[in-house]
């Protein structure tokens, strides 16, 4: 059987002041497929922007900001707000408090929202495209956190590179995966509400592979927050897979 000719189509959109990369693998070109893809991409973009409006702690009128100041109206207690709140509570419990949605005494689910939004956008707008004959695979990469999938019975493999925290132009590992999620958290970058603990070697970068991005994202953040020793203890009772990089640039597969 001859191998199929795949065509990769990449679109980048901006939301939450971050780049979101949507990749579609097409088997063939045709107008209907292109139209469907364009529509799904603009819906994904609109969804991510709506999530930003509602959940950004930096926006004065977001639901999160209003809630922080005790000014959320009952009508603004949306299903999404409820879902994120519930997930944040679960995540805190599951990680023995290492993952926290409270910062300086305020509710701030920022650490959860991106992964959640990517997973939900993927499930809602992109995954249905896999039903189309000419779309073989689809992925949504939100600044390094990825939810990806292939059509039923497809042999397409996503090849994902893990960035080197010491030099983001270099890659450490190549992961091949069909359907699943991958999240990477690090120390060097934005939004670090995490304090380095000195009694345990630190993890500089944590990449976690899971079925769903919500879980991968929570675990990647947890790894950074816990540090190496505690996180390795934690993973004895919890199934977590991925690649950790410690402060001495050692790569630790878990």
């Amino acid at each position: 059987m001859p191998t199929k000719q795949y065509q990769l189509k990449t679109t980048t959109v901006e939301a939450m002041t971050m780049p979101f990369t949507i990749q579609a693998v097409l088997v063939d070109h045709d107008e209907t497929t292109a139209e469907n893809l364009t529509k799904a991409i603009s819906r994904t973009h609109a969804f991510l922007q709506q999530i930003d409006r509602d959940f950004s702690p930096f926006k004065a009128n977001s639901l999160v900001t209003l809630y922080q100041h005790g000014g959320l109206k009952p009508t603004q207690f949306t299903e999404q707000f409820q879902e994120v709140y519930g997930l944040a509570t679960l995540a805190t419990e599951l990680t023995n408090g290492a993952f926290s949605a409270h910062y300086n005494g305020h509710y701030d689910p920022t650490g959860l929202v991106k992964g959640w939004a990517i997973q939900r956008a993927f499930e809602k707008y992109l995954k249905p495209l896999l039903e189309l004959d000419r779309i073989e695979a689809i992925a949504l990469n939100g600044a390094g956190d990825i939810q990806m999938g292939v059509a039923d019975g497809s042999d397409y493999q996503w090849h994902v590179g893990i960035e080197d925290p010491a030099d983001p132009q270099q890659l450490l590992q190549e992961i091949t995966i069909q359907t699943g999620a991958m999240a990477t958290s690090g120390f060097s970058k934005r939004g670090q509400h995490i304090k380095l603990s000195t009694d345990t070697p630190s993890i500089v970068q944590a990449t976690i592979i899971a079925s769903e991005l919500i879980e991968a994202d929570i675990m990647a953040t947890t790894a950074i927050a816990m540090g190496l020793t505690k996180f390795q203890e934690f993973t004895e009772s919890v199934e977590v897979h991925g690649l950790l990089v410690d402060q001495n640039a050692n790569q630790i597969a878990i």
């Binding site: 990769l8 990449t10 980048t12 971050m18 780049p19 990369t21 990749q23 809630y67 922080q68 005790g70 000014g71 959320l72 109206k73 009952p74 009508t75 207690f77 299903e79 409820q82 879902e83 709140y85 519930g86 997930l87 509570t89 679960l90 599951l94 005494g105 509710y107 990469n141 600044a143 390094g144 990825i146 990806m148 090849h159 994902v160 590179g161 893990i162 960035e163 983001p168 132009q169 890659l171 450490l172 590992q173 190549e174 992961i175 091949t176 995966i177 069909q178 359907t179 699943g180 990477t184 958290s185 120390f187 970058k189 934005r190 970068q205 990449t207 592979i209 079925s211 879980e215 199934e239």
Partner: protein
């Protein structure tokens, strides 16, 4: 006498089933209750009294003070349901109700099948990589990133 024992036994069975049913369907754990109003300063509370009279008329009396329970959301760790406490037309406290996964009396972190994947050190020039997972998050930083370079190379 035999009949008596039989009916006692069946009575015990019925009671056991009822208890089991109670634990299965009705027992909920209330956790994660936080009160924003408590942590917010008193000034916020006093200023909200004035605005709340107008906001409660906006809401056309639909939301009276009390507790409102939202829809349950299914997660991989069990269902969660969030409950809001409304005071003076404002949402003050959120409670989280949890329904642990079916058989366990406690929830487990991983009930999910792990995706099948393969991992290897990157070869010198792996042209197959199309996605990059990393911790860089700003849009500015992205222009110089590997993901962007790969995207550009493709066109």
């Amino acid at each position: 006498m035999k009949k008596f024992i039989a009916s006692v036994v069946s009575l015990i069975v019925v009671i056991a089933l009822a208890i089991d049913g109670y634990f299965l369907f009705f027992k909920q754990k209330v956790t994660g209750s936080t009160s924003q109003a408590d942590s917010a300063s008193n000034t916020a509370t006093s200023s909200s009294t004035t605005s709340s009279s107008s906001s409660s008329s906006n809401a056309s009396g639909k939301y009276k003070d009390g507790t409102y329970t939202g829809k349950a959301t299914a997660t991989q760790w069990g269902d969660v349901q969030v409950q809001a406490v409304i005071k003076n037309g404002k949402l003050t406290t959120v409670n989280v109700l949890e329904y642990p996964n079916d058989n366990g009396h406690d929830k487990q972190i991983n009930a999910q099948a792990l995706p099948v994947y393969k991992s290897e050190a990157v070869k010198a020039q792996s042209s197959k990589i199309s996605l990059v997972s990393g911790a860089s998050e700003t849009y500015k930083g992205f222009t110089g990133s590997l993901q962007n370079a790969l995207t550009k190379a493709e066109v």
